[in-house]
Amino acid sequence: MDASADTIRAQMVQLLPRLRRFAIALTGSPADGDDLVQDTVERALRSLHQWEPGTRLDNWLFRIAKNRFIDGRRSHRRSSSVIMEAPEEAAAAYTDGIRATEAHLALKDVVHSLQNLPIEQREALALVVIEGMSYRDASDILGIPIGTLTSRIARAREALADLMPED
């Protein structure tokens, strides 16, 4: 047994809820989000030597999730004639699988709105506004300058204000 590997696994379990939230925001559905998280943790453990001890494990995992999502979309576009799941269907798939409480209905609307944002705005918004990350951490994860990140969040916010109903 390796105590350090166990420690890292335990930290990953702690991070699963946040990774799921990020992945669902990116993919547009809980099922796809969980597939992305599974892909992310498997990838992370199998390439754990690429993680630098002493650096942020959470940022590294979020970066892998983001990259796997982008890679997955690229290969999907290249190899498949299947049309990407429409936002409405994605959100419906979510509410089918769980209790349709008020919170979940709100999630359906939110997921729907997020899917209308360009990916680069969606990932920036998800990290900063939903995950509450600092600009420094988010720009590090996305590999973009802070100025670019700020612009993307600003664009995303303007678009969301139009997309989401006032209540």
Binding site: P17, Q38, I98, H104, V110, V111, I153
Partner: protein
């Protein structure tokens, strides 16, 4: 007079990312600009809506398939190897570099010794060194006398290899039909300060690099080391 303000600045304000004085300036500006103030309030509401919408996701236990993925996916062998070798690595040691090729040569000029036997272009371990390589278990701890065994592992060719530390030399030997072939031998790293020596085994960079280049999988644990010895080494 109205001051123009960009949506980037308002966004950074919303996220608390402006310097303190700038945060104060924008807050004062909002008090005088109902249009901007309304935009900021709307955005704050959007943020709380987003967070609330996802609250169920973060509050519920993760699905079993994700817990299983974290629990059951093997960690990379290279990480395990680095972890195993960590006690022997000085701070800031960089992985395999250009020194690797040079490091695979015998690092010192051998003096005639019963511990090292030169034959047919190979150097074999002899005497007490060969005896220690064949019989000592690192997992038993260092007995304080003679050869100290470091790590044992299987190499890419299927041979069992062991690092050792003896009489000012540190090296790597791999077991073959004719005995323990010395893969690399180096002078033992000098401890800084001279008077102080670490209690643990020390490996020179070239020995570490030779291990990294040859190892298949991870070093033997105590049980594997004992099993390899008891069956006479491969």
């Amino acid at each position: 007079m109205e001051t123009e303000i960009t949506s980037e600045t308002l966004t950074a304000f919303l996220d608390g990312e402006l310097p303190p004085k700038e945060m104060e300036r924008i807050a004062a500006l909002l008090a005088a600009r109902p249009d901007l103030d309304a935009w900021v309030r709307r955005q704050e509401k959007l943020r709380s809506n987003l967070k609330r919408a996802f609250s169920g996701v973060v509050d519920e236990p993760p699905p079993q398939k994700l817990l299983a993925a974290v629990r059951d996916t093997p960690v990379s062998k290279r990480w395990l190897l680095r972890h195993w070798l960590a006690p022997w690595m000085p701070r800031g040691w960089a992985p395999l570099g250009a020194a690797l090729a040079a490091g695979l040569a015998i690092g010192i000029v051998l003096r005639p010794s019963s511990e090292f036997i030169s034959t047919d272009g190979q150097v074999l371990a002899g005497g007490k060194l060969a005896d220690a390589l064949s019989h000592k278990l690192a997992s038993n701890g260092y007995d304080g006398a003679g050869t100290r065994i470091g790590i044992s592992f299987r190499d890419h060719a299927g041979h069992d290899c062991r690092t050792f530390d003896q009489a000012g030399h540190t090296g790597l030997a791999c077991h073959q039909e004719n005995g323990w072939v010395i893969a690399i031998l180096d002078s033992r790293p000098e401890s800084t300060g001279g008077a102080y020596r670490m209690a643990s085994s020390e490996m020179s960079d070239s020995v570490r690099q030779a291990v990294m280049a040859r190892i298949e999988g991870v070093p033997f644990d105590a049980a594997a080391e004992k099993a390899a010895r008891d069956r006479g080494w491969k």
